[in-house]
């Protein structure tokens, strides 16, 4: 009952954001659901260390992972590891590795780093663009098949 009251208050507080481009119930579900998702992610990660240090991952991928990949993907991985080390800033490395490798939710990481989800996603986007440019300059195709 408390949760229902909280959700109602939340929806009412954001009512001025409703633009009428969807059903009101769809919009209200979105508002409540996103709020709950953010809260759950933050509680799940409360007090936990970030699981992956960039350098540890870069060292780890030298070994076990390589045997699971096709030759082309091993080459791609090696180029990516190099580009992550040489082309990205320390901040880009930390954010990209934490979110993509460590599975840290972006809003949890934003809270830890005292920034916003949007700012962190831009960091990730810029880092990916830098990596893609580097691979293209090296003559590598950045496509990864979904199946083995």
């Amino acid at each position: 009952m408390q949760s229902a009251d909280d959700a109602l208050l939340l929806v009412l507080a954001k009512l001025d954001q409703f633009r009428g481009t969807s059903l009101f119930t769809t919009w209200a579900y979105k508002v409540a659901l996103v709020e709950v998702a953010v809260t759950v992610r933050r509680r799940t990660w409360q007090g936990r260390e970030l699981p992956v240090e960039p350098e540890a991952w870069l060292a780890q991928t030298d070994g076990a992972w390589s045997v699971e990949l096709e030759v082309e993907q091993r080459e791609l991985l090696a180029a990516l590891r190099h580009a992550i080390r040489t082309e990205l800033t320390a901040h880009q490395r930390e954010v990209l590795v934490a979110v993509v490798i460590g599975g840290v939710p972006i809003d949890v990481l934003a809270e830890r780093l005292a920034t916003s989800r949007g700012a962190l996603y831009k960091t990730i986007h810029d880092a990916r663009q830098t990596l893609r440019r580097r691979l293209a300059a090296d003559g590598l195709d950045p496509k990864v098949p979904t199946a083995a």
Partner: protein
Amino acid sequence: MMSDGRNAPQPRSVLRGLLGPEGSQLTCQQCYALLDEYVELELLGGAADHAIPGMRAHLDGCPACREEHDSLLALLEGNHT
């Protein structure tokens, strides 16, 4: 499924995650603003990706927004059945 970092990441999904989707995409803020409209279009079987370009690429590149999209879609699908 909530991603909490306890499961070992799979090499291919990591490669895809590091490189991200191709092409232009929305920001997290734009994604949030348009998510309800996008999901309704998906449920109607309409051209959601044509109506809201850049949304699919963002969902492919942002695990948190993807999780919220999938949850909203599942909730509305449950209401429609």
